[in-house]
């Protein structure tokens, strides 16, 4: 099993009602498995699936990347700083 910390920001954080989620996932887990776990606990996150940006340990990644034990995964909407 892998222990993954998921951080949520902006509209995703509000939809989930929390900013940090700790998940225990199977060894072959990928980002899509994180989405499945999150949407199981909060259906309000479903609309974000497919358009959210994904950062693994503070770097942008694609959703098929394999997760490792202790990873910090961040999910957030397209950015709007400036």
């Amino acid at each position: 099993m892998k222990s993954i910390t998921v951080r949520l920001f902006a509209s995703l954080r509000e939809a989930a009602g929390q900013s940090v989620v700790h998940l225990e996932l199977e060894n072959e887990a990928r980002v899509v498995d994180v989405w499945d776990a999150l949407c199981d606990s909060s259906s309000d996150l479903e609309p974000f699936h497919g358009r959210a940006l994904v950062a693994l340990n503070r770097r942008y990644v694609s959703t098929d990347v394999l997760l490792s034990d202790g990873d910090e995964l961040a999910l957030f909407p397209p950015v709007s700083g400036g």
Binding site: R7, A10, A55, R58, F76, P77, S80, G81
Partner: protein, 150 residues
């Protein structure tokens, strides 16, 4: 704000002159400064104030990455400082300051423009508009929104 840092998020008010001074040096004759401020309207809505949220650890790393990209694209640029404010910001307050320094002015304008465009593309910061008629998260840079969406 820390005096020495070049890529920084802060909740404090931004001091434009202090940020410009960070990149000034005797061998640098040009500093181009971009100042972003909170506007009182957006897409026909009256904005009361903005709330900026960030993924702070990553945002500072991505700001530094933008600085590195500028050094690679414009080797004549000697120094770059970007400070972005987060949290509550009233209309007219300064949300971001970019200062680009070089011996001569050539390239400092382009590098400054590049920095603000990249911030709006890749730095994990989000603004929520608090308006008379509700609260709205802005998602994605305005430059990516086709005019006919408005």
């Amino acid at each position: 704000m820390s005096e020495e840092r070049r890529f920084e998020l802060t909740r404090d008010e931004l001091d434009v002159n202090a940020i410009v001074k960070r990149v000034m040096a005797p061998n640098r004759g040009a500093v181009t400064t971009f100042v972003g401020a909170v506007r009182d309207h957006h897409k026909g809505r009256r904005v009361r104030y903005l709330e900026y949220e960030a993924y702070p650890e990553m945002a500072e790393e991505v700001l530094a990455q933008i600085g590195q990209e500028i050094r690679e694209r414009w080797p004549a640029v000697d120094d770059v400082c970007i400070v972005h404010r987060i949290g509550h910001q009233d209309v007219g307050e300064v949300s971001v300051v970019i200062a680009v320094a070089a011996a001569h002015r050539v390239d400092t304008f382009d590098a400054s423009r590049y920095a603000i465009d990249r911030i709006k593309e890749i730095v994990p910061i989000w603004k929520k508009e608090v308006c008379e008629d509700g609260e709205f998260w802005l998602e994605g840079p305005e430059s990516m929104t086709p005019p006919d969406w408005e």
